[in-house]
Amino acid sequence: MARVGVFVCHCGSNIAATVDVAKVAEEAVKMDHVVYATHYVYMCSTPGQELIQQKIQEYQLDRVVVAACSPRMHERTFRKATAQGGLNPYLMEQANIREHDSWVHADIPVATEKAIEIVRMAVAKAVGLAPLEAAQVGITKRCLVIGGGIAGVQAALDVAEAGYEVVIVEREPSLGGHMAQLDKTFPTLDCSACILTPKLVDAAQHPKIKLYTYSEVVGVKGFVGNFQVTIRRKPRYVDEKLCTGCGICWNSCPLRPRVQEDGTVKGGFPSKFEANLGRRAAIYVPFAQAVPLVPVIDTEHCTWFVKGGKCGLCAQKCPRGAVNYTQSEELITEPFGAIIVATGFDLFDARALGEYGYGRYPDVITGLELERLMNASGPTHGHVLRPSDGRPPKTVVLVSCVGSRDEKIGRPYCSVVCCMYLAKHAIMLKEHDPEVEVYNFYMDIRAGGKDYDEFTRRAIEQYGAHYLRGRVSQVYERDGKLIVEGVDTLIGRPVEIQADLVVLATGITAPEGARELFQTLNISYNQYAFINEAHPKLQPVETNTDGILLAGCATGPKDIPATVAQASGAAAKAIGILSKETLIANPMVAEVNERECVACQLCVQVCPYRAIEMTTTRRGKPVAHVNPSVCKGCGLCVNACRGGAINLKGFTDQQLVSQVSALLAEPLAEVLDER
């Protein structure tokens, strides 16, 4: 026989006004196994908790049932009180007679009878509870940051400053991400590279930070505190340790771009960093302030690789002998305690919307391309020139929401930053050439940030940008001009503008390979391949996998201030994990009965956390084993197991069945008759 104590809470009048708490206690004491029952005004208060502790001692209780609010509210409180009374905290069961009863029913006898039944079910479950011990696991005090954009770099710096080792894995040859490509940032018009590159250098020089650029995460095993991550280092064919970034190699490459007498550029290959507007050699650094300042060889074009060992000029010229054509891919596995995912974004490919003519007309460009045209270190040295003829445009049309807020292409979400960067483009175009006319077709102006609306107003009022509320229906060429047909819905008329340059505000999408990486990490993402937060409001930097944290556009479109704030938030969470010596795992996890297990491995297949592995018993019998530190206690494996060999502690079949049986043992019809 168990010795159950039942504690009924009044919750002031929250429960007591509709539930006859004295009657509930009176009925509870008549139930099987119950040796003591009482009611008290606030069970969660200090005297309430002390009452539980006292009565555990006095009546030698071995189970506690607290009939009060939702366990989602106070389960921890009452477990703690139970533990302080000398019992295992998991021998407490909470009966929810507030949210599920007193607050939704007005009739006192009905609510009281329902409360009694809820208590009866809780008592039945409590009798079947077993003491649980939480496992403790050690922690690897290192943090992995995936992505070397502003989000990843900020997070890495914050974690490293707290004294923990950090590794940044970046798949491009340099840190910096998209922010490095931007010219200015809204709403302050700070030079983007000027505020970013010092941070990149800080990260590179930090004694606690190690960089793996031109590398990718290909495998993740383990769990919070103890991840084993496999990183693939792509060959750059230049030894990072020997290279000084002097530039002799890319300046001597026979395939390098050369400026002609007429100012045009011949040779070289489109530079991804320059949004394909600039050109680079076959051995190159993406941009002048790249971190690390170590070139990579483009094996698709380099003569040595294409023609099998011919050329080799860069290796001959390198004063340090750093060029090494035989370098090969390297797989390394390192342990980490926490992972921050800061994989950023890609831009929507505007070719999918043929009506705008992107990819057909060279003077229809994206916002990012305009950033490069405006940038002093860009392909035009900061002069805004049309890609078609190199002449400065006099009329520029900006088109917002290209690939955002568009149901018909499956992208109903807002990309957040476009309204602001178009306002910035309007201002900057006017700054570059006050004579230029700027038209901006917009759906709504979304300028919700600090100083954002003022910034947009400046573009309109001070700089005289023409804002037209409406969509562009098509862009086509006529007599050397781009004809932009749209509508101004405020005057209710179609509009036609003869433009020299059309700038499309392409929206933010998840980067290529995001789904595969998130699957490798075992974190959930939405239909657009943006990561789902553990809770969209209250856990915005955590994923559904403990120890894997989030920063930046990996969760959805975001501007730079929000990204940086989130990165520091993720870093704080990572530091919170790494600062502990051990982690206490949730003990309500699945457990395999090795005698019953037939090693069919169905449980291994259904487990969303890969917490189940096959092992063998001492006698050599193959069985499934649940790693208690990885298991999150969902119970999928319990149902998958055909032999009933797995149970979920705290929610065992027997416990749930006893709840059902306790409820249905008492006919409800009779209860209602008494009324």
């Binding site: 939702s70 607050w103 009905v110 039944e117 969902c634």
Partner: protein, 144 residues
């Protein structure tokens, strides 16, 4: 005149969405019929059809399983397992001698207190219309 029939309904609610949705119905003081008795489970994917069948065998008039909306499962995919398994169970119910309308699988998120009350209200009404369930003995006899 006899009293109106009050069905006994067992609800299996996932901890993260539907149980929280039921809590929200309480916090928001949204009334619904008192017939449901809620059993908290970590995930709708934990609801073994055996549990639902057990409830019917013990005399429940209706069984409802509520979980997170597809795509929102706290455990990523538990509700998909629940859906696959329980839809099949639902089809088999008539074979067991239980009317199909006595069972419902639905989704209620943590922010859907109103929807929780509505789903429970609808289900209670549907089961009330069906009347008391035939005793398990009668079901067994009928199958002979």
């Amino acid at each position: 005149m006899s009293e109106p029939f009050e069905p006994r309904i067992v609800g299996f609610l996932c901890n993260w969405c539907s149980y929280a949705g039921a809590d929200l119905a309480g916090t928001s003081r949204i009334p619904y019929p008192p017939n449901i008795r809620i059993i908290r489970v970590p995930c709708s994917g934990r609801v073994d059809p055996m549990l639902a069948m057990k409830a019917f065998l013990e005399g429940a008039d209706g069984v409802i399983v509520l979980g997170c909306h597809p795509g929102d499962c706290h455990y990523s995919e538990g509700n998909y397992h629940a859906r696959r398994r329980l839809v099949l169970f639902h089809r088999l119910l008539e074979f067991f001698g239980v009317e199909r309308d006595r069972f419902r699988l639905d989704w209620v998120s943590a922010s859907e207190g109103v929807r929780f009350a509505q789903v429970v209200g609808e289900f209670t009404e549907a089961v009330r219309r069906l009347g008391p369930r035939r005793r398990p003995e009668a079901v067994l006899e009928g199958s002979r």
